[in-house]
């Protein structure tokens, strides 16, 4: 009788993670997933505005965008795409391991995801550094920019360093780099936030906080991580690959 009462009690109150305003764990999980998707819609709107700006300026300055894009490192960009896809895979596996209740593989998958995310950011930093060294930061240091005091002093603007295609100007090339740094910068910020969230997951998964009944945090942060991956899936061809077929020699 008493054991029966305990079962009834458990059925009523359920999992310790169940909040009082939800009927059961399934409803709580579905509400969490839905809420995350609503948040991701706001993210789509946010990145959508930047993709719109990109589309407009690229259609206005096609030659300048192709010229500027050819200065990005296609190998690092492609490797980073692979790294991010791999991290999305390990994140999906972390969700799977939680769903089937394998705690140790879950910790391993989350740790791998974090390492791959940080690898992406490291490679991105190397790319930013090389843009800095090449003076490809929008503003006064841009090569060939007539307002660059160094250039004015030595009278050597090195106009061919940019390998401008016909119709491209330094000012228009700068617009590409404004958009490049804005978009990859916002993406990198999302990666940094994501790395923080996965660190949180890692700590709590090592404490064994998540189980097949309760894994919404893993699932929901996974959704965010995959979203950031999708943004990069679009950024890579749009930023790195648009002018390669126009390069001759």
């Amino acid at each position: 009788m008493s054991s029966h009462a305990t079962t009834a009690d458990e059925a009523q109150h359920g999992h310790p993670a169940l909040q009082h305003h939800f009927e059961n764990m399934e409803q709580q999980r579905e509400a969490g997933t839905l809420g995350m998707w609503v948040f991701l819609v706001t993210e789509i709107m946010f990145f959508g505005g930047m993709f719109l700006a990109y589309t407009l300026y690229r259609s206005f300055y096609p030659a300048a965008f192709a010229s500027a894009s050819n200065h990005l490192d296609i190998t690092l960009g492609a490797v980073n795409t692979g790294v991010l896809i791999f991290s999305s895979f390990t994140m999906a596996m972390a969700v799977y391991c939680t769903q089937v209740g394998k705690q140790r593989p879950q910790v391993v998958c989350l740790a791998l995801t974090l390492i791959l995310g940080l690898t992406f950011l490291g490679i991105k930093a190397v790319e930013y550094k090389s843009k800095w060294d090449d003076h490809l930061i929008p503003g006064r240091l841009f090569p060939g920019n007539p307002y660059n005091p160094t250039v004015a002093q030595h009278g050597d603007p090195d106009p061919h360093k940019l390998h401008l295609l016909e119709g491209a100007t330094v000012e228009k090339v700068q617009m590409f780099y404004w958009i490049y740094f804005a978009m990859t910068g916002m993406h990198a910020l999302h990666m940094i936030i994501g790395a923080g969230l996965i660190t949180y997951l890692l700590i709590f998964s090592m404490k064994g906080r998540f189980d097949p009944e309760y894994h919404s945090p893993v699932e929901v942060i996974g959704l965010y991580w995959h979203f950031v991956d999708i943004v990069w899936i679009f950024l890579f061809p749009l930023l790195y690959l648009l002018g390669r077929h126009l390069e001759h020699g």
Partner: protein, 100 residues
């Protein structure tokens, strides 16, 4: 629990598909297609990759209808954003009184 658990086999398949897609888009970028087909090919591959991520990694294929409605609303909003803004910008030169 009615929650659908995606098998590991599917995750591995999607992972490989995404890597192949990345390799394809890099190779296609060096081919000089006529007209705007470089962009069209690149975007087709990107949309395909994104669709696989959304359907399988993000479990949308097995999610409730409400999630589909939310995503549909987001895509519809993106279509409005692009269609109205681009039609504005592209038709501005039609006005002979354009200044600046």
């Amino acid at each position: 629990m009615s929650e659908h658990i995606v098998p590991v086999r599917i995750y591995v398949t999607i992972f490989l598909v995404l890597l192949v897609g990345t390799a394809l888009t890099v190779m296609a970028a060096y081919v000089d297609f006529p007209w705007q087909f470089n962009t069209i090919v690149a975007m087709t591959i990107a949309v395909t990759k994104a669709t696989f991520v959304v359907l399988y990694f993000m479990h949308v294929r097995y999610s409730t209808r409400l999630v589909w409605v939310i995503i549909g609303a987001a895509l519809f909003w993106m279509a409005i954003l692009f269609a109205l803004t681009l039609s504005d910008f592209y038709t501005r030169p039609w006005l002979s009184t354009q200044t600046g």
